[in-house]
Structure formats: structure tokens, C-alpha cells
Amino acid sequence: MLKLSGKAVYKGIAMGPVAVLKKDDQQVKRTKVTDADAELARVGKAGEKARMQLQALYDKAVKEVGEASAAIFEVHQMMLEDDDYLESIHNMIRTEMVNAEYAVAVTGDNFSEMFASMDDDYMKARSADVKDISNRLVRNLMGQEDMDFTSMEPSVIVADDLSPSETVQMDKSKILAFVTVHGSTNSHTSILARMMNIPALIGVPLDLNEISTGTKVVVDGFKGEVIFDPSEEVCAETEKAMKEEEEKLQLLHTLKGKENVTLDGHKVNIYANIGGVGDVGYVLENDAGGIGLFRSEFLYLGRNDFPTEEEQFQAYRQVVQTMAGKKVIIRTLDIGADKQVDYFNLGQEDNPALGYRAIRICLKQPDIFKTQLRALLRAAMFGNLSIMYPMITSTEEVKKIYAIVDEVKAELDESQIPYKVPEQGIMIETPASVMVSDELAELVDFFSVGTNDLTQYTLAIDRQNEKLDDFYNPHHKAILRMIRMAAENAHKCGKWIGICGELGADTELTEEFLRMGIDELSVSPSMVLKVRKAVREAKIDK
């Protein structure tokens, strides 16, 4: 059994035999020619053939994945006709008297290098397109045919990398999953895999020479894992997971577009929790009514320095625009405790969960906070954005936050930058905030209960300590009473309250939450429809 990790570009599970796709290395040799015109004629013929191949691929792709995704082959055709590209090939042949294959390969490398060096991820990914068309021309020049997949049995395709044309050429009914060593999430292969609903993992560190065609393999897009030669146990688990996945898809079909309403007519909003711009697709796919918790930490994690205001603004704006008027609640920085970032220089703490984290950092180091607030206020112009502050314990903290927001407003006014002060709410995740929720409700626009931390603080149980699992009871009466108390205080002031912790997705409690008058449940995208199902089966009035 060999288990490897990669990045999932489409979440799904598959099991079956491997088909290793090794590209015949196009060993292009440089040779001298004597008749340049003859070489140019060969390029012309190879180009003509390529155009016909691309037209056929385009037609196939339109049928299978739709016109928008098929457009890449139209672009390939245009790239083939690009004046600079052709000129470079012609010049090399004429001035260096080299063979057509070599001129095409070198030109292709140069142009793909140009795209690879651009500072834009989308354009970087285009270097694969240039390589794709150049390889196609070289294949045509050498008289090689496109790979033939017709006789293959349904398999998991394992390859170094796949070009868009290879992806589309394959017969969809014969592909169980894609696993590649290279590739980017922005590549067309990734996009096509998503459109075709085929599980796909990229960036898997494997040696193609060690994998043989026919080996049994499991691809788990949820865990981002691929397991070669799985044990019987793994196979049984996978079969079960595939069945569950199938049932979930069924659910999706029947519940999509339906209202979140109980049998006796009570409505609730079901939103989704996400941790990055890339998850927005899952939010819409699962039919969530909005984003109830957008963790802004992703902007700060995995880098060496603070994200700029512009970077943050672009990310927030992109999300609110994509959500097109649906609510997007962005939680300000929640670093510290179990989420550490080197450049914050937070230092070691004996009790990080009770330490310097979240809003405490923001209030002590207002420069970091202000950059984020400026980006949020600016992005609020572009859609339905709300700001949520984490780890609040007192009204004083909220007042301090508002004073900083006022400073940010004054600065933006002065620079004449357009902005909007959106709805502002707080996380209810400390017992203290529950106890003073009557006063907090007067100050803020909404509450959102973070049940994970609230449980940890209320039950005095460290979430990271496995030994305490037996004592950890998320259904503890103390927690439910706290949520009820916060809900009553919110409603007294005419404010709304949601739950964005894991408990929100606990369908055993859905009915109880609705009885408390909870207005919104924010859960992971994959749980949205399950919770919708629980809501639609619930009855509130006794």
C-alpha cells in the first residue's frame, strides 16, 4: 500500500485500475536543412492539420463540457495563427537553416517561458497552453498521432501532467479520476475536471516509473489522498464512502432550490463557512443562502509578511461580487492559539487558547487591524458584506473597535476613497460575552455563536488534548443554555443571531435551535443540504 497526498481540484472519490500515461518524450533534435522553403511548407501543413484537430476537439468539448469551457480550443487555434509565434518559427528556419521540429520546439519554449514569468496566476497557467499547441505541431511534423484512448477500460489516469487537449480527448465514460504530478488549480485541466465532475488530484509527488498500469488505486478528493494497492480495509471504507457520496448527490438533486422552512412554516437562513476565495464555488454549488463565516486567516497564513490592503481588498471584493448580493460575513483576523504565523512574532505562551489572539492582537496592534478594516470598508461597496469580530468578552472592547473604525473612516474620507460601513457583529464564543450579551446586543448588529471555543471555555476542556475526549460533551446543557440566553438577549434588542460553530451542523439539535429562535445556521458547504433536510422535517410549535 502506498499513500500519497496532493491537492484536490474536484472533490469526489473513485476506485479502479491505474492507467499510466507516459508521454513519449518528444526528442526533438536539431538538424541542418538545405531547403528552407520545404521546411516552411512542412510547418504550414502541420499547422493546417493542427487546426483541424483542434476544431474536432472543440466540437467534442462543446458537447461534453459546454461552450464556455470548450473556448480554450478556439484560443489554441488562434495561438497557432499568432503572427509573432509563426514569425519566430519562420525566422529560425530561414536564418539558422534548422529543421521545423526544432524551430517549433524552441519557439514554444520561449513563449511558454514568457507566460510562466508573468506575475498573474491565470497568465502563468497559459504557458501550458502554448506548450500544448507546440507539442501538437511537433507531433504532426513527426507524423505521430494523438493518443488513442478508445480501447481503454474505465481507469484512474495517472500522468506527469495533462494538457487540455489530452483531457478532452479522453472518453469521459472511461475516466474514473485524474492524478497528476504537476499542474495548477487554474489550469484548464483542473477546470475541465471540475466541469466533468471527475475527482482530480494534482501535485502528487509520485514516480511514474514505479506505478504500473492495472494496479488498483483509490483517489479521495476530500482528503486529497491517493492510495495505490489499497488494503481490503481501505477498499471497504472507500466503497462505503462512494455510496454515501452517491446518496449526497441524490440529496443535492432533490433539495437544491428548496426553501429552508419547517413543516409548520418557520424559516431559517442556512449559510456556509469557508476559509478561502476558492471555496466560494462550493458555497454556490451546495445552494447556501450566503456565507456565514468567511475566515480571513487564509490571507495571512503561508506567507512571510502581512498581506497588503490591496490584496485583501481584491479578495473580499471578489467574494462579495461572486456571491452577487447574498450575505458574506467576514470575520476579522483570528490568529493565535492553534493558528500561529511566524511573522506576527507572537512568542510562546503557556496557555495560547487563553492568550494573545484574535481581537486582542488587533486592539494591541491597531496598524494590522486598520489595514484589514480599510480593505473591508472599501469592499463593502461591491456587495452585501458584514464584518464580524472574534473573541469578544466585553462592551469596552466593542467600543474600542468602533473608535478604530471611526479613525479608518476619517482616513478614507481624507483620501476620498469610496467606502461603506457595513453591518458589524460579534462572535459569541466566550462565557463572558454570553453573560453580558444583553449589553452587547445594544451595541452590535448581530451575534454569531462560535460553539467550538464556547464549548472549550465553558467546559474548561482543551480542544487539542485527546485525553479529554471522554469529558467533551458538545450537547452539554450549559452550552445550550448559553446559546438560548444569547438568543433571547439578541432578540430583545431586535438583533439577529446565528450559529457558525460545528454544532450548527449537528442535525440532532436543529429543531432545538429553531425553537430558541436562532435566525441563521452557518455550516460547512457540504452540510448545507443535510441541515436543510433536517429543517424541512422539523416541527417547532408544540
Binding site: 473556448a71 480554450i72 478556439e74 484560443v75 488562434m78 495561438m79 495563427e81 499568432d82 503572427d83 509573432d84 509565434y85 513563449f111 514568457m114 507566460f115 508573468m118 506575475d119 498573474d120 491565470y122 497568465m123 497559459r126 497552453d129 502554448v130 471578489q318 461580487q321
Partner: protein, 85 residues
């Protein structure tokens, strides 16, 4: 020569497909159509050069048209940018 400035509104900028359509449009005219961003210029009839400018959403480009049919080309390019980008 006639020219106009345009700020790109398309979320992903002048990416592959619109760049392709732009080239098709520019090739319809005899006039030379140039696109300039931050001092870098590209001939609008060359796809890879246009993509190579890497024009992103919110960036402003200058489009200049020069040649026999420039009045016609100017109008066509302007309406192309407004409807597609």
C-alpha cells in the same frame, strides 16, 4: 491617429478568450491598432503579445488606431472594449 483610454471591468482582465476575440476584431481593419499599458505596447492583431501585456481588472489601457480606415476602426474597437471588457 485616434486614441481612447479604457479601464478594464472584466473580473479576470484581458484573458485568453477576450484577447482572441479582440485580435479577430482588430484584424478586420487595415489600420494598425496598438494597446498600451504602463508604457508597454502590443499590436492588437497579435494574440500572444496582447496576452503578454497581462492586463488585469481595474487597469487602464490606451488604445490607438492609425491608418486609412481609422475612423471606422476607432468606433469598432471602442464598442468592442465596452461590450466585452
Amino acid at each position: 491617429m485616434q486614441k481612447f483610454e479604457y479601464t478594464v471591468k472584466d473580473e479576470v482582465g484581458i484573458h485568453a478568450r477576450p484577447a482572441g476575440l479582440l485580435v479577430k476584431e482588430a484584424k478586420k481593419f487595415q489600420s494598425k491598432v496598438m494597446i498600451t499599458k504602463e508604457g508597454k505596447s502590443a499590436d492588437a492583431s497579435k494574440l500572444m503579445a496582447v496576452m503578454g501585456l497581462g492586463v488585469k481588472c481595474g487597469q487602464t489601457v490606451e488604445v490607438s488606431v492609425e491608418g486609412d480606415d481609422e475612423a471606422e476602426a476607432f468606433e469598432a474597437m471602442k464598442s468592442f472594449f465596452e461590450t466585452n471588457l
